[in-house]
Symmetry: C2
Subunit: 332 residues, 2 copies
């Protein structure tokens, strides 16, 4: 049985290209005592993957050259020598960009596909959902009824953040690229407004939609949008730095927020957020999100791309703003 | 009796100059029922004054053109029609840059000159001291034994921060300009080390003095030093944005911290701080600082410049790094 893989061939400068990865194949080996073999069905594509390709000290080691590219996955157990897992179990594990994965079961999460379809466990019931949940409620310290702005609003994390904030009785303003995404965010996901950064003046639109200022800004994009929001925060505002997708493929220095002294005059804070620091609370977050999904209060929005071989191009969709909701690659 | 004043004549672009201010004189008027007349003895000179000259929305209204320049002061009551104040009382009030002040007594603090000399109430027992105290302990959420870095280390706030952190059993590394200041900070104020930003590579020096990284950075300067420190913070570090003196006289945009994504990967935060938001806790802070001064644990360091007329040049000393400790102007 052949396993197809994408390995990191070289560290990209700027956007990843076809040459960034090497497509390899190898025979799936026999599993040993305690191990499971998983047929991977969906691979999670996340902006964070761009950071993992850099040779830099970060919250997680970089992917080594020649290694299978790191990625979260869901799939089905097709062989097991581990008493905790049976053939037919659906599981979640970071197996990377490949078709089959073998591991010893540690850190593998069993999934209940009667609650939600399999790929949703890479979305609102997976890392993206937990990122929105803990980022907004813990790091953002959201209080009921506040005014929340979220960038990357039509992305996996952005949609999660907006929907949770609506559950909490907040006024929610999204920022997204293009009229179509903005329409979807408001009409299908209940945001109060969505600013199209491609056609609107963001500062002006923020003054219109949040006349009293912003309490929480959940930032997925960085760059000029972060600077624009900084001009319009309230006293004791919280800015959650979850990502900076506008800066990940820079070949020059990251654009720092020139307006950061707005934090000073407003006794406000900007706090970074990595989901891996919330693993202890994960179970509680997943239970709450599962409940909200069951009640229809959180709608999972999946963007399913097909074809394992298209991985390099499909990954770029994230940086080109071509996805809406959680982008996953379906393995044929 | 003639009162000499410095009024804001025009809003400076870049550094304030002689033309920024207008020297005026006027007769001191009679006080009315409820009022006091104060002979101002010391005027506080603070980096924040530069911000008050800008016509920008901030934590406090800008000084209006033609108004006496805002400044904190200490002096002696020389006439009183307010039963709460007697002639001979020493008081602290924001009378501005002038020789005499009249007010109705609201917000006026009576001073105990047996505890500390009068100008110290503009230093460690005044706004500078409270800024260091609440900024470090509340906003910085300092824990005993942590590693603390403070820029502007030889300034009024920097010296306060470093001494409080030493009381709390912390390792304290200052950053200051010039060998003399660095020597003073270590030898006279007990800092563990002080980096001379004018001659040392800051990143390298931070790695030497704080090999395990930085827990709290108290920033008075902004600019490249903030960026350098960001490369060396620990998980859950707190950066207190108290000031950005390197940027106050910019004629171009403020330099934003390019390395702000270090907050993300370290689940760290950057929080702004303005002392005016801590007025309710002021009395408690002053009591504790007074106690430490009495016990000799906090040494007030005053930089007393003489001559009311020299106000415009003396103010510039702050931005030229020419003062050590709290800069005040003694009114003849």
């Amino acid at each position: 049985m052949l396993n197809h893989q994408f390995r990191l061939a070289q560290r990209p400068v700027g956007f990843p290209t076809h040459d960034t990865f090497q497509h390899t194949t190898e025979e799936v080996r026999e599993i040993q005592d305690g191990e499971i073999l998983v047929k991977i069905q969906y691979i999670s594509l996340d902006p964070a993957m761009r950071g993992w390709m850099n040779d830099a000290k970060s919250y997680i080691a970089p992917v080594a050259i020649g290694d299978v590219m790191r990625a979260d996955t869901v799939g089905e157990v097709i062989a097991s020598k581990n008493p905790k897992f049976a053939v037919g179990d659906f599981v979640n594990y970071s197996f990377g960009v490949q078709e089959y994965g073998i591991c010893d079961g540690k850190g593998v999460r069993k999934l209940d596909t009667s609650l939600a379809p399999l790929p949703v466990y890479l979305g609102v019931l997976g890392m993206a959902g937990m990122t929105g949940y803990f980022g907004l409620l813990e790091t953002g310290a959201l209080k009921d009824g506040e005014t929340v702005v979220v960038s990357g609003a039509a992305g996996a994390v952005g949609l999660t953040v907006g929907q949770i904030a609506k559950i909490k009785g907040c006024k929610v303003i999204g920022i997204a690229g293009g009229a179509e995404k903005c329409k979807m965010v408001v009409e299908e996901f209940g945001f109060d407004a969505c600013i199209d950064y491609k056609s609107e003046n963001i500062k002006k639109a923020l003054r219109t939609h949040a006349p009293d200022g912003i309490d929480v800004y959940f930032d997925n994009v960085g760059g000029t949008i972060l600077d624009d929001v900084l001009t319009h925060i309230r006293k004791k505002a919280r800015i959650v730095i979850c990502g900076a997708i506008s800066q990940y493929n820079n070949t020059t220095a990251v654009q720092g927020p020139s307006n950061y002294l707005s934090l000073l005059v407003n006794n406000a804070r900007m706090e970074g957020f990595v989901i891996f620091d919330f693993l202890k609370q994960y179970a509680q977050g997943l239970e709450q999100m599962g409940q909200w999904v069951k009640e229809g209060k959180i709608k999972p929005q999946m963007h399913i791309a097909e074809g394992f071989d298209s991985f390099p191009e499909t990954l770029l969709m994230l940086f080109e703003g071509k996805n809406t909701g959680k982008l996953v690659l379906k393995v044929a």
